[in-house]
Symmetry: D2
Subunit: 342 residues, 4 copies
């Protein structure tokens, strides 16, 4: 059976595991105060071109989003995002559980539009009753989005400009950031993100680590006392060095980008084959997630050979399906999958 | 200057004030344990045809919604409602502040559609990832809606059936319930509501009281320990009898319905005149709120004589305006307003 | 039957009722934007000697505490208070429900000691693990305390100094403030409180109003967007003027102080009689609450003639009982009660 | 430099690492639905003698406590625990952040007393105002406690009896459970815990795992929808198998107990030497944490050779210090430390 369900089906990149093994019996203080974590923070700041940023390592994506958003918002504020955003749909209400409303904007292939953000912010304060409403206190985007799509540099600059003009922070969820940076044709680099976002995270769980997300705070005054907030959210790893070592490895010799590129290549190979076989691309993704609209009978047939996800509830005769590659995807598995396409 | 801004611009119906004066220096125990409150609860149960219901008196609408919804939902659940619902738009995030997501459905003149509710509930559990999503744990409706519109008995029965079939409670926000019950042509009575809803509240603030909302819990097991929850939400009035006396007065000799009917008559008179003058009715409301689509210059002209609300942000050349009547609206004021229409 | 259970057994002072009646059918805009509320705010600022303060009117004490504390604290902070504080014992977890820990200090007849506050604040940051602990973010005191006792001016100045030195706000719960200000021998005035506290509230519910608490924010930057927070906490009264009119009346011609003095006189008369009859004063209160330690049989006997509260659970043979007077207490009732003492 | 700061200074037991390496490139579905996790659950149920229990794997202790307690409590309830409990002191307000009050009991060497629990529960409902107070909704204990002490079987049975009599669940925080089970002279076994507790967790982070805590729910109806709650708390590990594999390894061939015993032996060796050198034992702990009362000058001298924690703020001339061993502690390090004692 082949597996294209998600980008977290394997453990960690072998180089990451090797470093964890090498350091396993060393003794270091806890909670990210060890030297591996310190070095790793510096590596990341350098890679992002933000020498004065603060970097925090958390374990998973939902907890990272909940903790950062809780830290950035005042109590009367909510977080703007696309209606398809992970925080709005797939985090079991984690944002609301810490007291904040998720304010939704229309999505365009998973992305939000800077014009619509501006419109929302302007209209909000033109409503006489705005003090009875939840104030838009920050903008959440993901890159790549839930649909694997990417912002262009110009789109990202526009979003950043709107946010700065209206004095709300821009936060990027980078759960799959590596796959975005490694995409063919993208003009967005890590230093662009460091320059344009106030806070963002670099996903490790889906891109080579056992687990872990690196939160980069380019404007540290926005998140004072963040350490205590991380603890309060249950997101503080006792053996913090496990995160430092993993990210240190991923950010040495561009390992993070190199392994991400492999995943993207595998995804594009798969996409090309689906298109050649006449399948409908549901959304044109340049990254490691590929979405197709398939007849249910084809889905059933293919499920004999491979596991993959239906996206949303099944349709009457057609459904949306998602195939995901990652740093560990074997080319022969992709080829075998392609061979099963009719 | 005439005033049609809202239905809470005056104090209380004179009969209510008279009773408050009469009882002012009596001594009673606090927190709703006095005899006035007990009598008032019985009156309400009788009026609603639900002898075994529990009745709680709270002070205002937002606090009532937040407390009831917090009590009805488990932590992993959210509340379904129309996207235009008061809890979604105009309660400053009170629902989310107590940890719950507001799950929105399309609105149809402010109402939700039973078919769409059923579709949501069915689809939700057909999504493989539903445990990562906020479960729909109850349905919130308001009657009249934010737009003054009303459910028909058949619509209400359908909603109730869907909820019972899917084992989620149906909660009705009746901030303006009197104006709904008093509307011409409605086939929904208070006993229908008692029969079809699991929890609802009868609005006092906007219908004759100084303040106060009567929460009727027709299935008391749904809200155990509700007294403590009311206290925790800061919604417990020390001098609880003030609520009991007011509702007791309103539910004696049908005062509640009689004064509501007057408001509706005034609203319809106003609506008729607007239509005759050629104004566009924005939404066809049979209750005490009337919405029109008006040219901005007309709005500016009329604002010299009367206060009223723009609904949402102003448009380029046309905007939506709302005129509200209530139990205290003077017919001569309505006539004067009409005289200013061009 | 005589009643000494609490200070909220009657309605409002007749002068307050008279003003509510007089203005009952006037039309004013909602949510405290009316002229009565504006005037009342100015009166209060003047009385407290803080012309630049902001004043907000809320309905009840628990909701006021929860809203103010929620506004003053950052997420990683808790509120310091005496272990017997109302927020720690009798608010059904309202502070925790909005996410904050109540950090307790020893109580001395209901009061906290400035030296112990300082010690707590100093020790906290000397603990290596302090970032894993809830930071003390403000100090809550009540005046009078739960036991009717009062801070001296010197004690209050010391508390204020400690708070300012450590950069945490000082908040005073003045649910019974009138009875404190009117006490014989107190050297604390309203202008002292205005000068020494960052936020405090002047209780109306227990001192002459039907309901209502006036929050005075002497450093308004501490509570930005407080209007929205009040709304979010369900504490915004639609007919805000009801609060403005009541407080306007109470702060005209020193009515607030005058009626409070009566209550204190009645309490002292009662206390004197109890002492003369040989009863043990449990705590020496100069205000409207009097606590005695009484044999259970005496309690049972007295309960045939009067209602009053047992304080905490009943003891084996002795219990603590509380007798409360207020602005409405009739001297003949006090005398009758005294006549029943054996 | 020697290190006795905490029990999480190394990575994982080599056998655990070996299994993680062996399985690293296997593909499994996420979120704990893989076969390793299923097997591991069965192993644990068997070890605890509770075949019908449900087992969930979370990442860290604070998040486990916050999620379980949030799931067990109704909104009006709080959690009873010793005043020194981790949840009360060292979790940065995580319990309160999800809306619940921590209700403290006196501690006796870190433990709570069944009689005092019973007294609290009985007294609570004898207070006339109990509905204004936070109801005690569960009991939290830790075994070993914060001070390394252990409950006897009889003490644990008494606590369990009190809880069952009063219908509140008993929850045991077992962050260091292995070190408790492996202690000399304890009469409490894992099956006793399975029989007496309603929910407990078996700590992995401090006892051989890289990270991870196994929550055992012996009465699954107490925690319905717990999967969604884990997700909402940000505590759901994407690569859930990492937890399953680790716990599977620890519960094979009694590895968990064997490595815990080593830590206890090292701690006792150290304790014996301290006593022989004339140091004051602060609390008589039979497990891997040892507390001494030492002159500050001795502390300073010893800190040249070893790292360890001061417990609470430093005293004037004496302070409390803590030395911790774990599964990885080398006997030669213990001997070297002993050689530095004067």
């Amino acid at each position: 059976m082949l597996h294209f369900d998600s980008d977290y089906m394997e453990g960690a990149h072998p180089e990451v595991m090797r470093r964890l093994m090498e350091t396993n019996l060393e003794q270091t203080p806890g909670y990210g105060t060890d030297r591996y974590t310190l070095e790793s923070r510096q590596l990341i700041c350098r890679s992002c071109g933000v020498p004065d940023a603060k970097v925090y390592f958390l374990v998973g994506g939902t907890q990272t989003n909940a903790t950062v958003i809780d830290g950035l918002l005042a109590r009367h504020e909510g977080v703007l995002c696309a209606e398809t955003a992970h925080i709005n749909v797939h985090e079991a209400g984690a944002i609301e559980a810490s007291g904040h409303k998720v304010l939704t904007l229309p999505q365009h292939e998973g992305k939000v539009d800077a014009g619509e953000v501006e419109h929302y912010l302007t209209d909000f304060y033109r409503d006489e009753t705005y003090e009875h409403m939840v104030a838009p206190g920050m903008l959440y985007i993901s890159h790549p989005t839930e649909f694997g799509t990417l912002y262009t540099l110009s789109e990202l600059e526009n979003l950043s400009n709107v946010c700065r003009k209206h004095h709300i922070p821009l936060y990027m969820d980078g759960a799959r950031l590596g796959y975005g940076l490694a995409a063919e044709g993208t003009d967005v680099t890590l230093t662009d993100i460091g320059r344009l976002c106030d806070v963002f995270y670099i996903g490790g769980t889906k891109v080579g680590a056992l687990f872990g997300e690196a939160v980069v705070v380019t404007r540290p005054l926005l998140l004072p006392h963040f350490f205590s907030l991380v603890k309060q959210h249950g997101a503080l790893l006792a053996k913090g060095r496990l995160l430092g070592i993993q990210f240190g490895t991923l950010f040495t010799d561009h390992l993070y980008l190199r392994i991400a590129r492999h995943a993207v290549n595998m995804a594009l190979k798969l996409k090309k084959a689906f298109i050649e076989k006449g399948y409908d691309v549901y959304i044109d993704s340049p990254t490691n997630q590929q979405f197709f609209r398939m007849p249910n009978e084809q889905i059933d047939r293919l499920m004999k050979y491979a596991t993959f996800e239906c996206w949303g509830p099944r349709g009457e005769s057609f459904s949306i399906v998602r195939f995901v590659t990652n740093w560990a995807t074997r080319e022969k598995d992709v080829e075998e999958l392609i061979s099963y396409l009719s």
